[in-house]
Symmetry: C2
Subunit: 320 residues, 2 copies
């Protein structure tokens, strides 16, 4: 079994190729060609930590993947990152472990950002006047980086709770060439951007329906578990097109679940991202529609990103 | 993260210590102190393979374990072993991966054999006149090895379907000092042994109730999934004491499930191994009782054996 670390993995991968692999994964998932066993979860109460184990196999592919992600929220006080993780890629032909990707959670971050890129590619308005980012963390950075190949727009407004975090984010975004406005008022983001990505673990809606301009596309990636919510349910209901990574999962949690449970959105309105990608249809019909992509994260993304990371690392580091 | 291979793991471990760790695990499990998320399963139809992912954390312990086991049954035709596997031990305090045990499935085999040893220690009759083994595979060998410290009896009768496999097993057992009889008739095992271990993946009962002598203890480890059966349901019902590794799991599959589903055994009769061990009571009351241990395999065994293997390897190979 070969082992690659985070630096090697980051150096070996081409994000355009990675995006196409993730897109293929969404299509396979929506076509029912992916084996996804139930997620395993642990809670470590005393250590303020948790662990989740996600596994998937795209039927017909040569490998399958087991991903272990941990979050231990007292780690930073001890000089350690909160999140850690690794992916194991095994042969679907012999069962033998092929590659251990010690990505420390990076692959999970990037596959989430790539899903945002794929959704925006299909759903963003034809003219992007401003990009809005809700949140200032790692995912807020990666989502911005992944939007850059899709648009020439370099006007950015970013929301955060902490001015220090906003200042850090401003530096980061300026180094990418953005003209940056920071704000602690979510409404300002909605008023000044028509491509918005929400990336926080909020448990209360941050964006209200009334603030959103016609023609806006919103990608929401924060609500990856029960109780989380970034968008007002009315905003979900108002969207002309609602795309989800998994109809099943988004009815359990994610932005859409709240609107469904309140009876504001019928499940027939949900379009699975893989179906949208497979249909080759443009997601939005005009530049007045509001579109939403609710991305809760599915294990097929892990299977696809790890298979590609393995291939890319083997090519980049043949001696390992 | 440190990595140890099968040879290192096998060399580092003391089986007596390992047995006590497994016993502690059974006790914790029966006391409800173990987090055991649902098992993940894959089926690879074209490759004639499967994979199962079991994870467990004994609450309060410093590590938790994720085990990946594969079985690809066409592998031998390509010069590969059918079974492979590894265990990952992670910190329950920081989430960081600690050790990768590339045991190739050996730890699963030995934790199963150690469960048999623990059950026999509590349930075997006071005088063992003959040991009977049903099956000739790896587990049939390991079970025999693990019984040796419990008894001076070196009379063995072994059953298998293939004379070649029986001849191989005879050589193996003779090298351990056993006087060996081989047979292709299960009744002969029952008639000539009062400590019997069944180790096959049979889907039809091999041992009939009428053949079993009073005072016999039977450990059954083969029926580790749906549809498997080594003992006639009437034999399970006839047992005076029925011990199971998991009441829940053995009501789903395992030897006991067949008898329960036929209404021959009430679930109140089942005694969980951890409860038996914790009670400090002797399992059998006299040398006329028939006792049964139905061991389907529980993830706490993996958590315990891997935590000990990690410790033993770190002590044996401090430089790794």
């Amino acid at each position: 079994m070969k082992i690659y670390n985070q630096t090697q993995i980051m150096g070996a991968m081409d994000m355009k190729v990675a995006a196409s692999r993730i897109a293929e994964g969404f299509i396979a998932y929506s076509q029912g060609r992916v084996q996804v066993p139930p997620v395993q979860n642990f809670t470590f109460e005393q250590a303020n930590g948790d662990c989740c184990i996600k596994s998937a196999w795209v039927e017909g592919s040569k490998t399958f993947t087991v991903k272990i992600s941990t979050g231990f929220y007292d780690n930073p006080a001890n000089g350690l990152a909160s999140n850690d993780g690794l992916m194991l890629v095994l042969s679907a032909q012999t069962g033998q472990p092929q590659v251990l990707l010690q990505d420390e959670g990076w692959l999970t971050c990037i596959r989430t950002a790539l899903a945002g890129r794929i959704a925006a590619e299909r759903l963003a308005p034809s003219v992007i006047s401003g990009i809005g980012i809700i949140g200032t963390g790692v995912q807020a950075r990666m989502q911005l980086e992944q939007l850059m190949p899709l648009t020439d727009c370099r006007r950015l407004i970013v929301w955060g709770r902490s001015q220090a975090a906003l200042d850090d984010y401003r530096q980061f975004a300026q180094s990418l060439g953005f003209e940056v406005t920071t704000t602690q008022d979510c409404e300002q983001v909605a008023r000044n951007a028509n491509l918005i990505v929400t990336t926080t673990p909020s448990r209360q809606a941050l964006l209200q329906s009334a603030w959103i301009q016609p023609g806006t596309h919103i990608t929401a990636v924060g609500a990856d578990g029960g109780g989380k919510q970034e968008l007002e349910a009315e905003l979900v209901a108002r969207a002309d097109i609602i795309v989800v990574d998994s109809v099943y999962q988004c009815s359990q949690y994610g932005e859409v679940s709240h609107a469904c449970k309140q009876g504001l959105v019928a499940s027939e309105r949900l379009i699975e991202l893989g179906k949208l990608l497979y249909s080759q249809a443009k997601g939005r019909e005009n530049d007045q529609q509001i579109t939403l992509a609710d991305l809760t994260g599915v294990a097929v993304q892990d299977a696809q990103i790890s298979a590609y990371a393995m291939q890319a690392c083997q090519e980049a580091f043949p001696g390992v």
